[in-house]
Subunit: 371 residues, 2 copies
């Protein structure tokens, strides 16, 4: 017998700027013919989930009660989020679990009892009704924990490499490079023979990556950062950067270092080099404004990077290639590490929220709704 209700985490933004994230009971509908019911066993807390869950609300000053957080957004932030005022939104982009019931379609029935992963939102829940077609069937030896993050990080890292090939670049630069995603990108680039410049913010992160065999690691806290970056870019020929930080001067510094590397031949181009300088901002570890000093001429492109439209752009053949590669290597190339497991309720305690919402490298949490 299916339960009549389930528990899930939602986020709600009121017109007065108060945001409420809470655990709540919700009816569990019977699956339609094409659907399955997944008992969610593991779901990661990615930075992209935090953007939805709390956004720019001030959780440090929030009110914490069991199963609930209330926090305020400033007026400027509220204006930017005006379109979601009044909405109650389920949270949790991706996760994995076991199919415990299914609709009448053969494709849905075939999944009963199997372990699957999905990237459909609302996965911070004990159960989730989803389309069978949206399920990624996990290999038998892959646990829900190992398969929980089979989409966001793996596909993002692979999309960096696919985009590099599609736009004709030969090497990459990555910031916040010691993150789960960064380590994954390091392994992919090592497997594929792609030179990668890893930019980190602390000496211990540099050590970690060197310990994993990374050849080019640059620490932005080092006094020699500017020169180190130019040297690494010169050594690798990297002209494309993916930046998780977003705010501050880091991406602009990288673009400036690309320009310096391009001009190192000694020639002077009066409006800057014609060498391509390509940057993407894919995260918001620093929500402050992006500051570009524009010391890199006029031949440059910086874009936002969002996984879903980028996957569309890469095309069906590339998408299939990416999914296949991920499913095959969830225990190795695409393995994740978690700092802590939390239940739905534990996820909304002050201690947990302030820790994972700081988005520190190495502090990724895993939600275990059955725990």
């Amino acid at each position: 017998m299916l339960p009549a209700t389930t528990r899930q985490i939602t986020t709600h933004l009121a017109a007065d700027g108060w945001l409420t994230a809470r655990v709540e009971d919700a009816p569990l509908p019977a699956p339609a013919a094409s659907q399955v019911v997944v008992q969610v066993e593991a779901a990661p807390i990615n930075p992209s989930d935090l953007g939805l869950l709390f956004g720019p609300a001030d959780v440090e000053a929030g009110e914490f009660t069991p199963g609930m957080v209330r926090a305020r957004m400033g007026d400027g932030a509220l204006r930017a989020f005006a379109a979601r005022v009044g909405m109650t939104l389920p949270v949790g982009n991706e996760g994995a679990g076991t199919v415990i019931a299914a609709g009448s379609d053969a494709a849905a029935q075939a999944l009963v009892g199997r372990r699957v992963a999905a990237f459909v939102g609302g996965m911070y829940a004990q159960h989730r009704v989803i389309e069978a077609a949206d399920c990624l069937l996990l290999p038998d030896d892959v646990s829900a924990r190992e398969g929980a993050a089979a989409f966001v990080n793996p596909l993002t890292a692979l999309a960096f490499v696919e985009t590099m090939h599609a736009e004709g670049h030969k090497a990459l630069i990555h910031t916040a490079a010691a993150s789960n995603l960064g380590q994954m990108l390091h392994r992919i680039c090592a497997e594929d023979g792609i030179p990668l410049v890893n930019v980190v913010r602390k000496p211990e992160q540099a050590e970690l990556l060197r310990g994993l065999g990374a050849a080019h690691v640059v620490d932005s806290s080092a006094p020699t950062f500017r020169d180190d970056l130019v040297s690494a870019i010169t050594a690798t020929g990297a002209t494309m950067a993916f930046d998780a930080v977003g705010g501050g001067t880091l991406l602009g510094q990288i673009m400036g270092a690309m320009e310096k590397a391009a001009n190192s031949g000694g020639s002077f181009a009066r409006y800057g080099s014609n060498s391509p300088k390509r940057g993407f901002i894919y995260g918001t570890l620093d929500p402050s404004p992006t500051v570009l000093n524009r010391n890199f001429g006029y031949v440059w492109d910086i874009s936002g990077f969002l996984l879903a439209p980028m996957m569309e752009k890469l095309g069906a053949v590339a998408r299939q290639r990416m999914h296949t590669r991920v499913a095959r290597s969830l225990k190795t190339t695409f393995a994740n590490h978690y700092k802590a497991d939390v239940t739905l309720e534990a996820m909304l305690t002050r201690e947990a929220v302030l820790d994972y919402n700081a988005r520190a490298t190495g502090a990724k949490y895993l939600v275990t709704p059955q725990g």
Copy 2:
């Protein structure tokens, strides 16, 4: 008889940060078979010329002597300009004049006595030896003054429109819209039926453009700027902006307004709208850093815009179309207005330098080397 020497303006940056711009005599070589000697009669001072002539040197505190300006660059600026230290560079991207001698090739001989324009650099000179193939033959009724600026502004404005078509956008936003270039773009868009949002910085500039028949004019100094911008973008459907300012928050505000217009249907996209938001920075009226608040999701692209590589990218067919259109309409669509004429010597007086180097709208100067 050709003169043995000519006079020209050069700029030199020394290793200690002192920049020297001056009028100097230089040998005038005899033209090779494929070349002509142009007696330069008129050459505009464009912002792109000022970048080469003075760069970020502090001309306010400069030393002015007849035919010479000396000014210092700060250490940061000097580092960015390291590649040109020690070089003496002629200045003046474009200009027009009369061919007074030519090499033996028929194509060169055919130009003797004719009025031509060229975009080859070094045009702040009494004479300039150039390839016949680089000459744009001016129609008989077009004076050197009218043909002096037949490249930079006209081709830039046309390249905006060509880029808009090539990337599939339907309407444009332009900043510093009351400039010579802005008025030109207004006339092109009016002829072609392309909706254009003109962003200006002062009420009198808004008046000027409205007086020319511009339908969408937004003044960034108005308290209602933010809302006016969203309204104009909504009315026109503009999703591509060309920004001459570069520094500060203006381009970011425009991108944010595009996002707001895209979301005005009331739907909420959690990582921002998937509607394209496209910006180009083509100038540096404000040399301070570009500041992007990133309140426009993750689907956006901002690029530098430099005329020469963009013309390459647009392709030979588009280039021919653009040159033909310019030559046909130099007295109308592509007409320029100048605040003052200056000789080579007068160009380097304190009064002139401080006026044109402020890059104020409506303060374009014309250099008349024969004057």
